[in-house]
Amino acid sequence: MTALEAVSVYLPPGRIPIENLAGRLGLSDMQVKLFHRFHGLRTVGRDPQASLYDLLLHAATGLDALRGQEHRVRYVLHARAMPVVAAYPANPLHDLCRALGLGHALAFTVTHQSCASGLLAIDLAGRLLATDTAGQPAGEPEPLALVLCGEKAFTRDAELFPDTTVFGEGASACLVSAAGARDRLLAYACQVRGEFDSATGENDARLQREYRPTLAAVIRQALAEAGTALDDLRLILPHNVNLVTWQRMCLLLGFPRERVLLDNIPTSGHVFCADMFANYRTACDRGILQPGDRYLAAAVGAGGAATFAAMVFEH
């Protein structure tokens, strides 16, 4: 069963108040007030001096469990909201693999599910490893995959989702195994809705109406597949889109808001695909998750389509 062996997160120490971005992003005073009052967004992480490579390297080098185990890493997956992040022939992912001693691994990106690509990458990594281990001779070391998330907020579209969220920079690195004992993946549910293509904007109003009910349905589907009742979840690790969305999700689901980890939203903003991992680290660092606790990670990716995803884990 797919498992998370270790998780490391890097969030730049520098924080920029949302109002300081208003001029560049063309936000009105009303839009800034809305972000403050209802979306709960105050600051976002930015590191103008750090490249995408730097962000990913910070996260990966924080992964103590990787040291000495590089030879076991068969796959390196970079899950991204942005399909294109560097001009050819620059390839930050390949550069990073070489720097980490992972030049032998098969490295590729996972995109097109926007900010839900991170959960997809965990699922893909686990399935690739499961296929490999099925034919593996006994006694060989168990293979691993490294799932990276991280982006630069390098264009207006990468800084802002209008009236919804402001993106923060950061990165995560997660070591995945096919049969580990820690943070075992019990279920993954995903719904891709191609009709919600933000490029045309034709169905934006419908997306607003169907956003929370669709995410709730995917969450319920993941719980059913995991054989877990909503009440039995110790915690939900949300995507950090904004506070009001999750306050209303809690009402819709009938789940206590206190058990949704929303604390990183005001300070870090929506860190693309890395939200789940940042929230996981916060939960572990605070001792919120105990062995045996079940928790759910949720993500929505909006862009070329809308992807709603949920994963249930056992810690």
């Binding site: 009303m30 209802f38 919804t164 607003q208 109406r209 809690c250 009402l251 808001r257």
Partner: protein
């Protein structure tokens, strides 16, 4: 401020209705008078985003803080439904 359980103060609720209808007319550029029975989404086309802008305007103009955590779809049926909610789930700013 009142609570929903006790029943919102009717004068205050009317104040909310009056403010809401004026703000909605401006936000939605609605040419006809807006009344309590009009459905916010289906009839007036209020989006989630404009709904939040409406709440913020109500907070500013009425000098209140609205408990948005309790605001669900049931309270966003008609203009009157939402006014009842706001009157019953707000406190002085």
């Amino acid at each position: 401020m009142t609570t929903q359980e006790a029943g919102p103060d009717s004068d205050f609720r009317q104040q909310v209705v009056d403010t809401m209808t004026a703000v909605l007319a401006r936000l939605l550029d609605h040419p006809e008078p807006i009344t309590e029975n009009m459905r916010l989404m289906e009839e007036l086309g209020l989006s989630s985003t404009l709904g939040l802008e409406l709440l913020l305007e109500l907070e500013d103009q009425l000098e209140i803080l609205i408990d948005v955590e309790q605001l669900g779809p049931d309270q966003m049926g008609t203009v009157g439904d939402m006014a009842t909610f706001v009157a019953g789930h707000s406190r002085p700013a």
